[in-house]
Amino acid sequence: MAAQNSHKSFQLLLLLSVFVVATCGLIYELVAGTLASYLLGDSVTQFSIIIGTYLFSMGIGSFFSRFFNTNLIRWFIQIEILVGLVGGFSSTILYLLFEHAAYFKLILYLLVGLTGILVGLELPLLMRILKDRIEFSDLVSKIFTVDYIGALLASIIFPLVLIPYLGIMKTSLFFGLFNVLVAVFICFRFRSDIPGSRFIIIEGIVAIIFLVLGVIFSESLLRMAESMAYSDKIIYSKSSPYQRIIVTKNSEDIRLFLNGNLQFSSKDEYRYHEALVHPGMLNVANPKKILVLGGGDGLAVREVLKYPEIESITLVDLDPSIIELFKSNSLLSDLNKSSLFSKKLTVINQDAFVWVRRQTQLFDFVIIDFPDPSNYSLGKLYSLSFYKELKKIVNRKGCVVIQSTSPYFARKSYWIVNETLLKAGFNTLPYHCYLPSFGEWGFVLASPTALPTTDIIPKIENLNFINRETFQQLVYFPPDMSRVPSKINTLNDQFLVQTFEKEWSHYTQQ
């Protein structure tokens, strides 16, 4: 009687593990499909190929099951632990490798294949374990019933519960854990029937520890995935209410990233900032009052401070954390020559549009260094209304310079900025320069009355990039960047944002 009972519970437990293997197996497959469609796009293709690969691999697994001839139950449990580990960590591995692996798809299909093979091994093994204990027709019916029920459960809870509440990474880790736990439990329960069960249990416990650590650190793993997106060492990272700030450093340069977008590289930022500041500065007869919008890094201010006759600089940047960072970090304050400590400087942490609209004072030269118009919020700072407000605070003989994205990568966008400035009543002088770390970059010099000139006479020495000859070349646009007629950008029709999105998407697709 006792023996029969133990037989019954043995059967039941093995059937339970079929159920778990089936559920977990399908979950891993769905995780891979979902991740692939997130990361690579085209969900129909991804899901279709992944399901195919998975089923085919199960076939391979079934085929190879014939080569397992001894200690079937031991093999069964070990494979289950392995499935838990491989499947459980599959999403983590894919996340971490995505940015780096040259053959990401290959790794993806290898992982799917490996999971498939392991799951494929399990069913035949189990059938063979149970074949002498249960009548054949009963065995087949039971195993397949449980298998299919597991599949149904997985496919229902995955989209409805797991993805919304756990997220993809935790889902696969949790199921890996579940998988291994069941394996360890069975092994423990029938330790007397299984040779070397103690070793398997230890193996299982190590796997469990790894998976639990994975669950606990899944958030930081995601962050690590982020940090691996930057090729250099991260020396500073912070999320301000407005943006995510990252500074990286290697032996040669320091780089600033905002929301993952490169802002400058210390190696060639002098080109950018000289080109941004000096042509405009030299176009104003007697510049005294300077306004810098954006540019909390203090690098444009550094260039302005090269002119001793400047009386005051007003810097408006929304995010105080940037200013703080560029004041407190010695690497960065070396880079901006401690410009943010200048007595001539007033820092205002406000929304530029709101601030400009309220001003009544006039500035001789305004430097605008906003992030690119990549969304509708930022697009407002490139609108006709903004430029009209801007015109009201520029001295009649003063001028304005605007960083206006790349005329090469986003040619139409660049010329929309120029067109919008013209509509606001400015005279403009578009120019561009080459930055090794960015490529071709564009600026527009604009003046309310006079036409800005290329005939500049540098008043200061030690500039490494801008001089009269260089600047005269910068205003020529080769045919692949030359002016294209376009609409303007307004608050009610942000044509620039739509265009910018389209143009950059050509360069950001895989």
């Binding site: 997130y38 990361l39 996340y95 995505f98 940015e99 919304p164 509440y165 756990l166 997220g167 990474m169 899944s218 958030e219 995601l222 962050r223 995935a225 982020e226 997106a229 209410p241 407005y242 995510r244 929301n259 993952g260 977008n261 929304l318 929304d351 530029a352 549009f353 709101v354 609209r357 969304n375 509708y376 919020s377 930022l378 697009g379 407002k380 700072l381 609108s383 006709l384 209304s385 903004f386 307004t490 608050l491 009610n492 029709d493 942000q494 944002v497 950059w504 360069y507 950001t508 697709q509 895989q510």
Partner: protein, 532 residues
């Protein structure tokens, strides 16, 4: 490369929101938030049915008495003021504005009713000149008005939550079958045809104000069938299109395709012929407080002349003069206005009770059906948790919902970041029997309305409840006149007839469509006519 990185960063954002959500799921939402359930003053209003009012103790003489300070009443006041005619305006509520009421909280102004004005056609001269006066139109280019950029609705304008995803625009596109696309194409062809159509009298078939529309019987006969019947006649049956048409009928009429006439339904789609040098023909003007902004501009013409918190209970005609008796709820006394003319900018269900029995009107009051509306202004801390797709837009619609979705009151802000926001959620009660709907509405508690709104908003914003700080619910018992079959061509036309060139009717229920342009036009024209 950038897209990979963006994805990873978004992935972090997503998982941390989820973490936040799950850390909340155990506790109930904040209980210290401000909750209000308000509406027009129906206690004073109901007194008309039941109560008796004291006899007037004072008589004030004036040239014109305006009853009702909604847009039509205020538009009339503007003309009288500009022409130097003495007048008084009596308003039941504590402030003027009617359906364009608005309010504000610590974050933003917000509408309690009407919230936008489509740019008018060039033939709506009165409205254009008002918009010029208020610097909404800043100039003209090639004969087309240039609108103030700050008042034109900013980008991004509209999005629709459909198939667990926000798509751009309100017409369903995401996951829509071929049949639906074909039906939308067919419907657009019809819209194009009716937009261009002119009647035998040379007038436009559909335009705003309604007075400029053609009287051609072959067009007017569309008012004798339901919009639903018209749609069936054209073999349009895709559920996506029907949802869209019902959405639009709810938006402008508080009705459904089965309760409004085909003429009114077509008018919604084919009458807007705006023109601007700096905007698309379908552009709209909007402000954080909605049309409350326009009301604030109009009300300056009647500051001294307006008496609020006052219920007019009798309008009559005695010895060649008009009399208007009203009860001042603050002073608790009745006053009689004696005037040459009266402009009634009140709805007919009020007029039915205040017009003295000796004044005959050939109208069927039972035909006037007004849809109740619920408007919830919700102040949220932080940003709403978003599902995938388009970003927060001005108008955010949920496919398949009975509501009209919500409008972002902070949308016209030039500020890039704000840590709080106010959204205005609109729920018209479109049931065919508006009296039953109204009765039921008045029985609902704050909690009932709150749950209705939140259940709907939770679809696209699962964790919205946790960020709500204030909920201001406003219930309109008689929100909008519903242009049912034969209403515009017959019932409302009858109601617009003045009595003896002394008492004039200007409420939009005498036009059949409750829109700002119509109220403004009728108020303005009537005031001009009686002061010639």
């Amino acid at each position: 490369m950038i897209s990979r990185r963006n994805f990873l960063i978004k992935g972090i954002g997503l998982s941390s929101t989820i973490a936040l959500a799950s850390s909340y799921s155990g506790c109930s939402p904040k209980i210290d938030r401000r909750e209000t359930l308000r509406g027009p003053n129906h206690t004073l209003g109901h007194k008309l049915r039941t109560g008796t009012f004291p006899k007037p103790t004072q008589i004030i003489k004036t040239e014109v008495a305006i009853v009702g300070g909604g847009v039509s009443g205020l538009a009339a006041a503007r003309i009288l003021k500009q022409r130097g005619i003495e007048f008084r305006l009596i308003e039941l509520e504590d402030k003027v504005g009617g359906n364009s009421h608005s309010d504000k909280n610590s974050v933003s102004s917000y509408p309690l009713g009407a919230h936008y004005l489509p740019i008018p056609g060039t033939y709506d001269k009165d409205l254009l000149s008002f918009l010029e006066e208020e610097n909404v139109i800043t100039g003209y280019e090639n004969g087309k008005p240039t609108y103030n950029e700050y008042y034109l609705c900013f980008d991004p304008k509209e999005r629709l939550y459909i198939n667990n995803h926000w798509q751009e625009g309100i017409i369903p596109v995401n996951g829509v079958d071929r049949k639906s696309t074909e039906d939308f194409d067919k419907f657009n062809e019809l819209v194009k045809k009716f937009k261009a159509l002119k009647g035998s009298d040379g007038k436009e078939a559909f335009c705003i104000p309604l007075h400029f529309c053609s009287d051609d019987p072959s067009i007017k006969k569309l008012d004798t069938i339901t919009f639903e019947f018209f749609i069936q006649q054209h073999k349009l049956s895709s559920p996506h299109l029907l949802w869209y048409l019902n959405y639009c009928c709810a938006d402008d009429f508080g009705g459904t395709i089965s309760t409004i006439s085909a003429w009114a339904g077509i008018h919604y789609f084919c009458s807007r012929k705006g023109s601007a040098s700096n905007a698309q023909p379908d552009a709209v003007l909007t402000w954080p407080e909605g049309n409350g902004w326009l009301v604030n501009k109009l009300m300056k013409y009647a500051v001294k002349e307006t008496t609020t918190n006052s219920m007019v209970f009798q309008v009559g005609y005695e010895n060649g003069k008009c009399i208007v008796d009203y009860f001042d709820a603050i002073k608790e006394e009745s006053i009689r206005l004696v005037s040459e003319k009266v402009i009634l900018a009140t709805p007919q269900f009020i007029n039915q009770r205040i017009l003295s029995g000796t004044l005959e009107r050939k109208i069927d009051y039972a035909q006037f059906s007004y849809a109740p509306w619920m408007v919830a202004n919700i102040k949220c801390s932080n940003h709403l948790e978003e599902k995938r797709g388009e970003r927060l837009s001005w108008d955010n619609v949920i496919y398949g919902s009975k509501s009209l979705g919500y409008v972002n009151s902070n949308h016209q802000n030039i500020q890039l970041f704000s840590d709080r926001q106010v959204i205005t959620y609109y729920l018209p009660l479109t049931g065919a029997d508006s009296n039953a709907e109204r009765k039921q509405s008045h029985q609902r508690s704050f909690k009932d309305w709150y749950e209705l709104a939140i259940e709907d908003l939770k679809l696209p914003h699962p964790t919205i409840e946790h960020s709500i700080e204030e909920v201001d619910i406003w219930l309109w018992g008689h929100g909008m006149i519903r242009p049912s079959v034969n209403f515009i061509s017959k019932t409302s036309f009858d109601a617009s007839a003045p009595i003896g060139q002394k008492i004039f009717f200007v409420h939009t229920d005498t036009s059949g469509i409750s829109i700002f342009e119509q109220a403004f036009f009728v108020g303005t024209q009537t005031a001009k006519m009686i002061t010639v």
